[in-house]
């Protein structure tokens, strides 16, 4: 148990009714580390991510972020969440506010920053994601890629220590994916601690320090991208990667019951 671990997950279980989505996850993410979580849909990877900031309440086990136990029933969860930025598949920008207001409202209401300071930090973060000129636009007038970059800027404006990404490019048209990944790569280079659930293998290979492959609610294998993606040890990992990297080559196969661990 390294003391520099920013995120520490111990024996995490999560069930929805009878459906066991997570069956004992242990994972540590060090400060400044970028970890990509990959796996087939229904493998529990999004649920795992959502357990880290308690959007899902774990059934069993512990989660620590920056030394604070998130799963402690008496924890001030709102205070913990201020240190954890979260980016969603569906962006979840506030549609009734302009881009700038999307960034300033949480700063003012949650962090109690004054108007001028919040606006300055908003402008700075919009510049970082390359959208300074869209500050007065409404989210509905932006492309999906722009909306996702605003969502990243909104999370960054709160000054998080950790960023969680839940399939940030899955809802985007293919030609818009690059802009979002470029912003994420920039964050990684700046030393942000990041946990990324993704299907973007190129990103995982080039940016991640570590790749975690999940299936059926457990971590099947983990290691450096070169190890896991280029030279997977487990049959399940090989199977998943071959389908992902070359979907046209997949063959019709019998459903193997019990292999896929249920819904996310």
């Amino acid at each position: 148990m390294s003391s520099s671990a920013e995120i520490r997950i111990r024996d995490l279980h999560k069930s929805f009714g009878d459906n066991q989505v997570l069956r004992g996850i242990d994972l540590e993410i060090g400060q400044g580390e970028v970890v990509c979580v990959i796996g087939p849909s229904g493998s529990g990877k999004s649920t795992l991510l959502r357990c880290v900031n308690l959007l899902e309440e774990p059934t069993e086990g512990q989660v620590f972020v920056g030394g604070t136990e998130v799963t402690d029933p008496d924890v001030d969860i709102d205070a913990v969440r201020r240190r954890i930025g979260m980016v969603f598949q569906q962006f979840n920008l506030f549609p009734h506010l302009t881009v700038t207001e999307n960034l300033t409202l949480p700063q003012r209401r949650v962090l109690k920053r004054n108007k001028a300071k919040a606006a300055a930090i908003a402008a700075e973060n919009l510049r970082r994601v390359g959208l300074a000129e869209k500050m007065d636009a409404y989210p509905s007038s932006l492309s999906g890629g722009q909306q996702q970059r605003v969502a990243i800027a909104r999370a960054l404006a709160m000054g998080p220590e950790v960023m969680l990404f839940d399939e940030p490019t899955s809802a985007l048209d293919p030609e818009l994916v690059g802009d979002v990944l470029a912003v994420m790569r920039m964050l990684a280079d700046e030393g942000m601690t990041m946990m990324v659930v993704t299907h973007e293998m190129t990103f995982a290979r080039e940016v991640a320090d570590r790749v975690v492959f999940m299936d059926g609610g457990v971590v099947v294998e983990e290691g450096t991208p070169d190890r896991v993606i280029a030279d997977p040890r487990h049959e399940r990992t090989r199977h998943f990667l071959s389908r992902l990297l070359d979907p046209a080559m997949a063959e019709v196969e019998e459903e193997i019951s019990g292999r896929v661990g249920g819904g996310e």
Partner: protein
């Protein structure tokens, strides 16, 4: 089966008896117009126009109503409605939040309130506020006199409907909005106030405007509270004048004053609804 294209079939039945469908439609349409024209003519011939004009459209009596019908009666109607709407809005939001609460008793209380007050006639609630409350709690003085009582009565009536509207609006805001707020560090209450309710409000603006129109009409029941001359609203004002002049013109004028507000509001609602539909696209 139009009968003209299918030669095989028409070959077997070369001459159908009766009319084709198209001809039947024409006849039916003709009959409907004829009935309408006949009804209008019958009304125009049988109505006693002189008497009707005498009863409903006497310019002198109408003139005598101005400017009081606007500066006093319409003003009071608007005042009762706006204050009642404000009370209903606050109470309605509270009830909607109780309805969505995780605390069981809050949900039950809100549910019972809504069922009761949606099921009772507004008239009964006005009688209750005007008669039953002063008898039950002698010596209590409702702030604002008639205006306060009217605001409470209309608020109680409106709140039940507005609570259901608000609940639907809050539930129509996507779940991701609350999740985004929570993950930014908003408490549930603060996320509700800063993020969810402003969006819900946009969604429910058209039905809320309809509820305003409903209260505007229900404000006529204020006369049951026993009002002074200065507190009269449109209906009471019109009725009083109708009985002193023994003529129905004041009723007609009062009615027109209601429409002066409700018709433009209806127009606004339709505009808001089409705008909301566009925003969803």
């Amino acid at each position: 089966m139009s009968g003209t294209t299918d030669t095989a079939e028409t070959g077997f039945q070369p001459r159908r008896r009766g009319l084709t469908r198209r001809q039947k439609r024409k006849v039916s349409r003709g009959v409907q117009y004829a009935v309408f024209v006949a009804a209008v003519i019958a009304f125009a011939v049988t109505a006693d126009w002189g008497r009707l004009q005498n009863q409903f459209a006497q310019p002198d009596i109408a003139k005598q109503m101005f400017p009081d019908v606007i500066t006093l009666a319409l003003k009071n109607t608007v005042l009762y409605t706006v204050t009642g709407f404000a009370v209903g809005l606050v109470l309605g939001i509270a009830l909607a939040l109780m309805r969505l609460s995780s605390v069981g008793p809050y949900r039950w209380v809100a549910g019972v309130y809504i069922e009761i007050f949606r099921g009772l006639p507004a008239l009964l609630i006005f009688i209750f506020i005007g008669v039953a409350v002063p008898l039950a709690f002698p010596g209590t003085e409702i702030v604002g006199g008639t205006y306060g009582k009217a605001a409470i009565a209309l608020g109680l009536v409106g709140a039940a409907y507005m609570a259901e509207t608000f609940r639907a609006g809050i539930q129509a805001v996507p779940k991701g909005q609350m999740e985004a707020g929570r993950s930014l560090g908003f408490s549930p209450a603060r996320a509700m106030v800063s993020i969810i309710i402003p969006q819900a409000f946009r969604i429910i603006l058209p039905p809320l405007t309809n509820e305003f129109v409903q209260l505007f009409k229900d404000s006529s029941l204020v006369l049951l509270l026993g009002v002074t001359l200065e507190e009269r609203e449109l209906s009471k004002f019109g009725r009083d004048l109708a009985s002193t002049t023994a003529n129905s013109t004041p009723i007609l004028v009062a009615g027109l004053c209601y429409l002066l507000v409700t018709i433009p509001l209806g127009f606004v609602v339709r505009r808001l609804e089409s705008k909301a539909r566009e925003a969803v696209k």
